[in-house]
C-alpha cells in the first residue's frame, strides 16, 4: 500500500472540499430560483391614481357623462402569458366572481381586452365609458346602451332599483396551455387563483 505524504493528503482534502463547494455554487447558478407566480390587476381613476374614479367625485353617473379609468395588469408568472381582461356590468343582486370556487361572474361580457405579456411586464390602457341611453320602467332603471372605448354595447340584462348600485367588473382570464382554453384566473403549480375588481356606481339620472 502506497502511503501518502502529509502534503499530498492535505492537497487531496483541499481539492475534495473545493469540489463540493464549487459544485454547489454551479448548481445554484444553473438552476433557476423558484418564485411565487401571480398576476396583479388594478384600476386607477382619471388622474392615473387610486382616486377620482367618478367625474366630480360623484358616483351618480348621468347619461352622456364620460367616465375615464386606467386599467392595468402585471405579469409575475415567470413566463409570457396571454391575458384577457373581461369587462362585465352587474348590480347588487347579480353574482360577483366567486373567489372560493374560482368562478367568474355569470353576468354577460360587455367588452374584452387581450394582450400577450412578457414576464414582469405591465400593461395599462385607458378605459372610457359612457351611458348613452337609459331606460326607466317603473322604479327600475336600466342603462340600455353603453359606449366603452368607442364601442357601442347594448345591455338588456342588467338593471337596478332606482338606478342604485350598479357595478363594473374587471375579470382577469389567462390562456392555459394545458387545456388550450382561456380560463378565469391562472394556474400556479396545482393551485388555481383568480383576480378581479369591481367599481360601484349609480345611474339614477336619465339625462346629463
Amino acid at each position: 500500500m502506497v502511503s501518502m505524504g502529509e502534503d499530498a493528503k492535505r492537497a487531496v482534502t483541499i481539492f475534495i472540499s473545493a469540489t463540493i463547494v464549487f459544485s454547489m455554487l454551479a448548481y445554484v447558478a444553473a438552476t433557476p430560483r423558484p418564485s411565487e407566480q401571480f398576476f396583479q390587476i388594478y384600476v386607477l381613476g382619471e388622474g392615473g391614481k387610486a382616486e377620482r374614479y367618478y367625474p366630480g367625485n360623484n358616483p351618480n353617473i348621468p347619461v352622456g357623462q364620460a367616465v375615464r379609468w386606467y386599467v392595468g395588469a402585471t405579469n409575475f408568472m415567470g413566463s409570457l402569458q396571454y391575458v384577457v381582461i373581461r369587462v362585465k356590468l352587474g348590480n347588487a343582486t347579480l353574482k360577483a366572481p366567486d373567489d372560493t370556487n374560482r368562478l367568474p361572474s355569470p353576468t354577460p361580457v360587455l367588452l374584452e381586452f387581450k394582450r400577450v405579456l412578457m414576464n414582469n411586464e405591465t400593461w395599462e390602457f385607458p378605459f372610457t365609458w359612457i351611458i348613452r341611453e337609459s331606460n326607466r320602467t317603473g322604479d327600475v332603471i336600466s342603462p340600455t346602451v353603453l359606449e366603452m372605448n368607442g364601442v357601442t354595447i347594448r345591455n338588456s340584462d342588467v338593471n337596478a332599483l332606482n338606478g342604485y348600485n350598479f357595478r363594473v367588473f374587471f375579470e382577469l382570464w389567462t390562456f392555459d396551455p394545458e387545456n388550450g382554453n382561456v380560463t378565469f384566473g391562472w394556474r400556479t403549480g396545482t393551485e388555481r387563483r383568480v383576480a378581479w375588481l369591481q367599481i360601484w356606481f349609480n345611474a339614477t339620472s336619465l339625462v346629463k
Partner: protein, 183 residues
Amino acid sequence: MQARLTAFGVVLLVAIGILGVNAFSRANQAVGFGTSTMTGSNEVLDRAETELRKAIVAVREAEAAGADRGRLRDLVDRLNVALWMIERGEQLQAEGDVGAAVAQAQLSIDVSARLVLEAGKLRDESAQRTYYGKVFTFAMVPVASLLVTVVAHYGWLWWRRREVESVMRMEIKRVSEFEEEKR
C-alpha cells in the same frame, strides 16, 4: 263576360302566386348565401385564434429553453400584432365587411405560422446554448478546485518555509558572568 273576368282573375292570382313563390325562394337563397359567408369568416377567425395559441405555446417553449429577452420581446410584439389583426377582423365582421375580416384573419394566420417556425428555431438555439452553458459551468468545477488546491499547496509551502527561515535566523547569544555583574 262575368265568367271571362273570373277566369282572368284566377289566372292573375296564379301568376301572382308563382311570382311570390319565386321571389321568396330567391330571397331565401340570398339569405342562405349571406349566412354561409358569415360562417366562413367565423371559421377563419377561429382558425386564426387557434394558430395564435399555437404560436404562444411555441414562444413560451423558446422562453423556457432560455431565449434572451431581446429576441423574445420581438416575438411577443409580433404575437400582439397577430392578436390585433384578429380583433380587427372581428370588428370588421361585426360591421358586415366579411371579406376584409377574412383577409385580416388570414394575415394573422400567416404571422402566427411564421412565429411558430421562428420560435422553434430560437428554442433549439437557446436550448443548445443553455446546455453548453451548463456543461461549461460544471466543467469549471474541477478546474477551479485544482486552482484552489495548487494555490493552497504552494501557499502552505511558502508559509512553512518562511516560518522555518525565521527560526533559522534566530541567534543564540552567550552572555558572560562578568558582563552580567557589570550590568
